[in-house]
């Protein structure tokens, strides 16, 4: 992180409010202490995030005294893009990928930190820690810069940028253990609680506001659930769990039999979907 702060003119930290972002932000606070991290946070808001995420986001930026930028794709909003009617692929493309590119262009950021980890998904396993993006924000997986030792090539031309993944070598279990060891604040949605959910296509979706329309035969139930991963609420599956403390979550984790992205509906859209999204500029 210090490498980026020292070598780039205008870096930014992508802050998605999830547990990985929380860890990344905590590391940034440590890396620059006693200074504050010399870059702002950027949240790309699809307007479909859980309400508790948004309040946590604002509270966090205030608590740490950091500058927070929020970007919404107004064009997409005007076109009425939403996860229910437009489909998850379209929603993600317009409200996340396009929105992110807009924000990076608007502020002219030349480096952006992301909390992605290589253990999450196959194409992410090949991502560099310093990952080059063209002026169109595209990723070319076959033409990546070799990355040796801890020597990172930070050279870019005007308009090009670098995505930086400081948590590349962390696993999901590492993240939880670290949150536990360092008492890092996270969104309460990670802890089990009675929440109103609907079972749809085998996934438990939390009804976070009245924009969610019920289909025939669906009914809202109060169930004891928590989330392993957070995104847009209509696209994020909850798991039934009684783990309401960090200790309980870690215990649940080391006996877990499914991967965390299982709860992400956007990944199963089409095969190799993550690689495709990344080439288009998704994180």
């Amino acid at each position: 992180m210090r490498e980026v702060a020292a070598e780039f003119a205008n870096p930014v930290m992508l802050y998605s409010i999830g547990k990985d972002s929380s860890v990344m932000l905590h590391l940034a606070m440590k890396a620059f202490y006693p200074s504050l991290p010399p870059f702002p946070l950027l949240h790309v808001d699809t307007t479909w995030k859980f309400r508790e995420m948004i309040s946590f986001r604002d509270a966090t930026a205030k608590r740490l005294g950091l500058k927070l930028l929020v970007h919404v794709n107004q064009d997409g909003l005007a076109r009425g893009i939403n996860p229910f009617d437009s489909g998850s692929a379209m929603h993600t493309q317009v409200m996340k990928t396009e929105a992110l590119k807009q924000a990076l262009d608007k502020y002219g950021f030349d480096a952006a930190f992301g909390g992605a980890r290589r253990d999450e998904e196959k194409s992410r396993a090949k991502e560099r820690i310093f990952s080059f993006r063209s002026t169109a924000h595209a990723w070319d997986p076959k033409n990546q810069r070799p990355e040796l030792w801890r020597v990172y090539n930070t050279r870019i031309n005007k308009g090009e940028s670098i995505r930086v993944f400081p948590l590349s070598n962390w696993t999901e279990l590492d993240i939880w253990q670290y949150i536990l060891a360092e008492s890092i604040p996270i969104v309460p949605l990670y802890f089990a609680k009675k929440r109103p959910v609907v079972e749809r296509d085998g996934t438990l979706i939390m009804v976070d506001d009245d924009r969610m329309k019920l289909r025939d035969g669906e009914k809202v139930e109060e169930r004891l659930v928590r989330f392993r991963t957070l995104g847009c609420y209509p696209l994020t599956g909850a798991i039934e769990s009684a783990a309401d403390t960090l200790e309980a979550i870690v215990t649940e984790m080391f006996t877990a039999r499914t991967s965390e992205r299982q709860g992400r509906l956007i990944d199963s859209d089409e095969k190799a979907s993550m690689e495709k999204k990344k080439r288009e500029g998704y994180f």
Binding site: R2, E3, A5, A6, M29, K30, A31, F32, Y33, P34, S35, L36, R118, D119, K122, S123, R124, A125, K126, P141, K142, Q144, R145, P146, E147, L148, W149, R150, V151, N153, R155, I156, N157, S168, N169, T171, L173, Q177, L180, A242, A243, D244, T245, E247, A248, V250, T251, F254, A256, R257, T258, S259, Q262, K271, A272, E275, K276
Partner: protein
């Protein structure tokens, strides 16, 4: 709520050491299958990953109805379709004893650089070979590269042992052949294990099919091998990444410790400047530390005000790294475009980036025989041994002693691509002993005498574009005006100073380097130097520009269309080039890279030469080169 074993689980996690290893081998030797097998058999696959795998196996799999483990790790669409691994994929797994990070690296020859990437951060290498094929060229190459990158522990996994009927004879023969080759590569441990990644023999558990094999299965070996590099016992090294100045009262130096340990009260030096001080505090967000060791990212404060910036190395006053602007190093070339000795590249070593060039390419290495061959250049995936010269001195250790202090990358100045990876062998003493001779009469004194500002007027353009014609007119005018000038003309210089050079890319680079240096001496003498050279490459023109001071280089693009130049053909060269009697002729079968930011562009396809000369003279007046 937490069950009683959480504490013991966490405690066990804490104690686990981390082993980073890479797997390499030829295409189809089964690397990906082996890693998939390790993940599967150590029960580390999630259920949804497993069901996706079963689905994919039916679609792309090459193993019939069985699960194709390779599909677990071959991440990118293209390689799934071709059935080969084309990039480094990192995998993470843990057993009760250790955590592992596996770099799965490509086997295909054109991806050898990716293998080096995986090796640069690993402590151990698992080299796979197909029991049916034995030791191949690739196997030798891989063993050599991992040894070059400082890996001291190697496992030879003789895979597909099931396909040779679990034959001890075959295994022994392969192990012996490999052993003979690898014995000279400086490995501390070297073992061979007969395995079948597809069926799991000797991967997790000892196999009943190989009763003749007395060693441990692969995973047990990986869990127990001792790879503790002794970096912690080496001298303290911390490259400064970032100067931490939240306010006027605090000035700290942030960086990751790459060697040894440090504590408050230690006497330290700044390697390059030689200034010394004492460590005051080791600052972290969780409070000051009493001691910090290799691998920790810390912020140090010193007892004295010492001038330190990014790129400086903090070290013990008594055990300093070498400081030099010349060193000898091994170089692995990683770009499609071949190495040009003499061209300037950017060299990044820890936190410093400086312009550098290869002064002598001593030899390249035949990876099959380890023979040293004479070489003028290095191509993609070739390894050479060369002397480097840097624009500024750097502090470094040999790669053997400290990977972080001796490993560097080379960056192309135009594409910004990482084109090479180097490992420093030793500093060249002559750099430390050849000092600049200070001279009393300097450049400004000499040029003041002539009432002019010294400069290089660099004319670049195709043959026949009119460079020499315009340059001659400009010199004549300046001379008539009482200015002190000199012309370096491409053709003329090739009769003397550069008589030994031809027209290959490498020779063109050296041609321009010498001319640039000669022009620099004339500028130092206070002259206005007119250089008239085709000089087709941007990098070399930039190199010439950087040899002289800011504002002393005027690049003049003499821009005439190729058809016009060919029609003029003053020396009949285009005729010959088209006939094929001259090779590498710029514009015909060798490229010309037009300047992007020339100070002046002359469109010499039309207009009188004297008008173009007048444009240049006006420019010189406007910019006060001449009064």
């Amino acid at each position: 709520m937490a069950p009683p074993d959480l504490k013991s689980f966490l405690a066990a996690q804490e104690k686990k050491s981390l082993l980073r290893f890479l797997t390499c081998g030829s295409v189809d030797d089964g690397k990906s299958t082996l890693i998939g097998r390790l993940l599967y058999d150590s029960k580390l696959l999630f259920e949804d990953t497993l069901s996706a795998l079963e689905r994919d196996s039916k679609q792309h799999g090459t193993t019939g109805d069985d699960i194709d483990f390779a599909l677990l790790v071959d991440g990118l669409e293209a390689e799934r379709e071709q059935g080969i691994t084309i990039d480094v994929a990192y995998r993470y797994f843990a057993t009760n004893k250790r955590k592992f990070i596996v770099a799965d690296t490509p086997g295909h020859e054109q991806y050898t650089r990716n293998m080096a990437t995986g090796a640069s951060n690993s402590e151990l290498a698992v080299i796979l070979i197909d029991a049916r094929k034995g030791v191949l060229t690739q196997t030798r190459r891989h063993a050599y590269i991992v040894s070059l990158l400082g890996i001291r522990h190697i496992v030879l996994a003789v895979n597909k042992i099931d396909l040779v009927g679990y034959s001890q004879e075959t295994f022994d023969r392969i192990a012996a052949e490999f052993s003979e080759f690898a014995a000279h590569l400086g490995f501390l441990s070297r073992v061979a294990i007969p395995i079948s990644a597809r069926f799991g023999d000797n991967v997790i558990a000892k196999s009943a099919n190989t009763p003749w094999y007395g060693g441990p299965p692969l995973l047990s070996f990986l869990e127990t091998v001792d790879v503790e590099a002794q970096v912690a016992d080496k001298p303290f090294r911390m490259p400064v990444q970032w100067v931490n100045r939240p306010n006027l009262d605090f000035r700290g130096f942030s960086g990751t410790i790459v060697g040894g340990r440090v504590k408050p009260g230690d006497k330290v030096a700044v390697a390059k400047s030689g200034r010394t001080s004492t460590i005051k505090r080791i600052v972290t967000m969780d409070g000051d530390l009493k001691e910090a060791a290799t691998g920790e990212a810390v912020t140090l404060t010193l007892a004295d005000e010492v001038d330190i910036s990014r790129g400086d190395i903090l070290c013990p006053a008594t055990a300093r790294p070498e400081v030099s602007d010349q060193f000898a190093a091994h170089l692995l070339w990683m770009a499609e475009e071949e190495l040009l000795p003499g061209r300037q590249y950017l060299l990044k070593l820890s936190t410093s980036t400086v312009p550098a060039q290869i002064t002598t390419l001593k030899h390249k290495i035949d990876v099959n025989t380890l023979d040293q061959l004479a070489a003028k250049t290095l191509r993609l995936n070739e390894i050479g041994y060369a002397n480097f010269s840097l624009a500024q001195p750097l502090a470094f250790d040999s790669y053997r002693d400290n990977r972080d202090m001796g490993g560097f990358i080379l960056i192309d100045r135009f594409t910004n691509a990482t084109v090479g990876a180097g490992m420093i062998d030793f500093g060249l003493r002559r750099a430390t002993n050849v000092h600049w001779q200070a001279i009393d009469v300097d450049k400004s004194a000499r040029s003041a005498l002539k009432h002019q500002k010294p400069a290089v007027l660099w004319f670049t353009g195709l043959s026949g574009s009119g460079k020499s014609t315009v340059a001659n007119l400009v010199e004549a005018a300046l001379h008539a005006d009482g200015r002190h000038t000199y012309i370096l003309d491409g053709d003329n210089v090739r009769h003397g100073l550069n008589r030994d050079l031809g027209f290959t890319d490498a020779d063109r680079v050296e041609n321009i380097r010498r001319v640039g240096e000669a022009a620099k001496l004339f500028v130092d003498a206070g002259l206005i130097v007119l250089v008239s050279f085709i000089s087709p490459f941007r990098s070399e023109r930039r190199m010439a520009r950087e040899l002289v001071g800011e504002g002393e280089f005027v690049e003049i693009f003499v821009d005439a269309p190729l058809e016009v130049c060919m029609a003029r053909d003053p020396k009949g060269l285009y005729q010959k080039a088209k006939a094929g009697t001259i090779k590498n002729f710029t514009g015909i079968d060798s490229p010309y890279e037009p300047p992007e930011h020339a100070e002046l562009v002359l469109h010499t396809g039309k207009g009188e030469p004297s008008a173009h000369a007048a444009t240049i003279l006006a420019y010189l007046k406007d910019h006060r080169y001449i009064a």
